[in-house]
Every structure is written in C-alpha cells, then in structure tokens.
Amino acid sequence: MSKLALKTYTLLQTVTSVSLSAMAWAVTGVRPIWSGSQPSERQRIYFANHTSHGDFILLSACLSERERAITHAIAAAEYWGKSRLRRFIAEDMLSSVLISRQWTSEEQNPISIMLSVLDQGHSLILFPEGTRNMSDEPLLPFRSGLYNLSMARPDVELIPCWIENMSRVLPKGQFLPVPLLCRIVFGTPVAVAPGEDRRAFLDRAHDALQALNPRPARDD
C-alpha cells in the first residue's frame, strides 16, 4: 500500500471514530464508570456483554482518542465479511478485526489472528459470549477465547466492561435506536490464577462481568 493510501486510511478511521463517538454520545449520553480500573494506555483486552451492533462503538467512545486508535473490536466474519461493503465498514472504517467461528485453515484460526494483533502492541475489545445475547439471561456462558488469549499473553490486562441499556436502545431486529442513557462500568482486571482450569476461569470472569451491572433488577 502506498504511503498516501495509508494516510487516507488513517484519516478515514479517525474521522469515523470521532464522528461515531460523537453520535454515540448524542444518542446515549454514554459515560464511563471506572470502578476497579482506570483509563490507561496499557495493553488490554476489554471484554463486554454483547446485545447490539452498537456495543463496541459505545465502548470505544469511552476510551481516549489515542487508546481508540490502537483498540480493535473482534467481530464475526460470518456477518461482517459477507459483502464488500460490510467488510469495508468493519475493517477500513471501524478498524475491527474479523474472525470466523467456523474456520478451516490455520491462517483463519481466531486465536492466532487475535494474538497477532496483540503482538503489535494493540488492545482488543472482545465479546466472550461469542454472539449477541437475545435470550432472557443477562449474560450467556463464555467461550474459551478469553482463557486462551490470557494463557498465551499473561501480561495483557483483562478488563470486564458492563454495557448498560444497549439492549433497550437497539433491541433484536430493530435498526432505529431509541435514545436512552447508557453507562459502561469498567471493573477490576481479572487474570487466570495459577493452576486454574479453563471452565473455572471462564465462569469467574463471567460472574465478575455480570456483577458490574449497576441495576440488575431492571434487565428484563
């Protein structure tokens, strides 16, 4: 890629991220609540509950401009890679990283793709439920990615982030958002304890995230 094209790309991504953050604020007044962690430029994996396509926009709107530039959301290639336009939006405008759930060849291995992003010093936004939660449960069981990443790169901080109200802003199957106030609660980092097995860790991380919900009784 030529230097000029590279520049245009960064400009496009900057413009997109600034305007999306402004829009997220205008619609939802999104506000971070740092409860157990602080904003930092340290390398991190932000893991959050997932109910809507707008989730990672809201989350990255809570990060500083510099952090946002090096933080990539992990999105499903099955959905975002379906057409050239979607791929353009996901990869070129939102600088997200696409992974497939059904991968065949080694270069599609989601863990290797995510590790290669981490190895550039960048941070990730991950939705460990694996899909948007359309059930009545507040949070689905976690898939293994979070554990595998943490075992492979133990220095990266895992920050649980509870995204409030997005399921009401943009419920399943709707495309017009209702402007409701949203908060994102950033909790205490979790880490795999020595000797902790996969399921135990995933359940612990799951509970740590769910415990951040500031108004649990109303999520129905």
């Binding site: 007044g29 506000r31 017009l176 409701l180 108004r215």
Partner: protein, 311 residues
C-alpha cells in the same frame, strides 16, 4: 424590550459574579480537603454560568431560539425519564414515536400557535393511542406500569415543558412583541426560587418538610424561598404585563408549583432507587433535576396569563 433585556443580563451577571466570589472566598477559607457541599456549590455556580449563557444566546434568536432550545430540553428530559422507568422490547416503536413524532409534532404546534391541538394532542390523542399500540403488540407483562410510565414521560418532559415556549403565542393586549420577557420572568422566578430555597435551607433549615420524600427540603427553606421569590417577582414586574402585586402573586403560585414539582420528582427518583435523573449538568444532576420545578410551574403560569391577561 432591549432595555429590559439589558437590565436582566446585567442583573444575572452581577448575581452570578457575586455567587462565584462568595463560593471562592468560602473555599479559600474552608479547611482542606473541601467539603462535598462546598465543591458541589462551586460546580453548581459554574453550571449556572453555562446555563445562563445558553439561555441568553437562545433569547437573541427569539422564537426560533426558544422553540429549538425547549425541544432539546424535552429531548434530554424524556431520555432521562424513559431510561429510568421500566420498558420491554415490545415497547420499542412506542418509545421511538415519543422521540421521533411526539416531540417534533408538539413543538410544531407551539411554532404554528395551534392552541386547540397543542393542549389536547398529548393528554387526549397520545393518551389513548400509545396504550393502544402497546396492546396491539400483545405483550401484557406489567402492562399498566409500562403505559403509565410512558404517559408520564411525555406529559412531564414534552407537554409541560412545551408550555414555556408556548408563552410566545399568547396575545396580551399592550404587551405585543414582548412575550419573550414572560419566559424570562417565569424562568428567573422559578429557578431563582430553587436557588433561594437552597440558600435558606442551608442557612436556616431545621424542620424537614418531608423526610420520607426529600430529606433536603425544609420548612425554613420553603418559606424563605417562597417569600423571597415573591418579592423577586414584584421586583421584576417591570418586564411583565402585571402590577407589582399581581407579579408577586403569580410568582408565588408558580414557585409553589415548582416546589411541588421538585417533591414529585424526588418521589419518583426515590421509588426508582436513584439520587439524580442523570449527569448532564455538573453539580446539579440531570436535565430533569434542574427543570422539575419549571415543569410543574409552566402550564399553570401559562394558563393564568392566558385566562386573566389575554383577550
């Protein structure tokens, strides 16, 4: 009207400057670290500077400025109200309609001065059609609670708030072209009463008015605030069609309504388990925390002026 507006702006500037100096002096003398009350006081005064500046700008744009400003206030207030109350997935279209249809249409009615529909659009048409849409969706879980909350949300945040710019549509003989001053009078008196109740409460407050609803409201604050704001009303009679006596009576009624609005808002917040409606205005809370008194005062003030002073 220029003359009166200049006096108001200078007056507000003097009051805010005094407030900032007092707060700075108190902070300088107080032991460190500063108490929560003192930090909050400074935040509140700073926010007042911003709010007064925004109101002044909107004032200079006249009818446009006022209509747009209050439509935006309705938007922020409605968002806070709906966020706080219970809703379900099946309410999505009703909620969208509240933001996308009811707010624009109600303010369009204000803009075109269509009084007949303005007063009944929400309390009659929306009142009947919103629950009908909800019922058509077939989801009966906590039905009455949901439709009641939606009704309250639009009545408080849209209907009541829209009565402020609607003051511009009133035809008061001998007062033509000066209706903006009615808005200035209402806002200064009602918001002034909030501030005066706060000051009297902080200085002399002993006997709680309603410990179960709002522990911060005291009889001393209420009486001091109401008397002082009635006097403020009389003092401001030169910008109104009222005599000084009438102005103080109107101010008294508006501020009493304002007090009750604050009380009702506190009861709702307590019921929902929150302290503030939101965080839009530093030191004050949300939009509704700042406008709860205006919400209750505006329709009554509007109808008093309409009944007694228009043809």
């Amino acid at each position: 009207m220029r003359h009166e507006i200049s006096i108001l702006i200078i007056g507000l500037f003097v009051v805010l400057t005094t407030a900032s100096i007092v707060a700075a002096t108190l902070s300088a003398r107080a032991p460190k670290p500063l108490s929560v009350t003192l930090i909050n006081l400074t935040q509140r005064i700073n926010a007042w500077w911003v709010m007064v500046a925004l109101m002044t700008v909107a004032f200079f744009f006249g009818r446009y400025g006022m209509t747009i400003l209050f439509a935006l206030i309705s938007f922020a207030a409605l968002r806070e109200f709906v966020t706080l109350t219970h809703s379900r997935r099946s309410d999505h279209w009703v909620l969208l309609g509240m933001f996308g249809i009811i707010i624009p249409f109600q303010y369009w009615l204000v803009w075109t001065a269509w009084y007949g529909l303005f007063v009944i659009f929400i309390p009659v048409y929306c009142f009947l059609l919103m629950p009908a849409i909800t019922a058509l969706h077939g989801d009966t879980e906590r039905f009455l609670e949901r439709i009641a909350a939606q009704q309250w949300a639009v009545m408080i945040s849209v209907y009541c708030v829209s009565h402020v710019p609607a003051l511009l549509t009133l035809d008061v003989p001998g007062f033509q072209g000066r209706n903006l001053l009615l808005i200035a009078f209402l806002i200064i008196v009602v918001q002034g009463s909030d501030v005066l109740q706060y000051i009297f409460g902080k200085l002399f407050g002993k006997h709680r008015f309603s410990p179960t609803v709002s522990p911060s409201k005291t009889w001393e604050g209420l009486i001091g605030g109401l008397v002082a704001s009635s006097l403020l009303g009389a003092l401001l009679s030169f910008i109104t069609p009222f005599t000084p006596l009438q102005a103080s009576a109107v101010a008294f009624i508006a501020c009493t309504m304002g007090f009750l609005g604050g009380l009702v808002a506190s009861a709702i917040k307590r019921d929902q388990g929150v302290k503030d409606w939101g965080h839009l205005i530093e030191g004050h809370g949300g939009m509704l925390d700042r406008t709860d008194s205006l919400v209750f005062a505006a329709p009554i003030f509007f109808h008093i002026v309409r009944y007694f002073w228009t043809v």
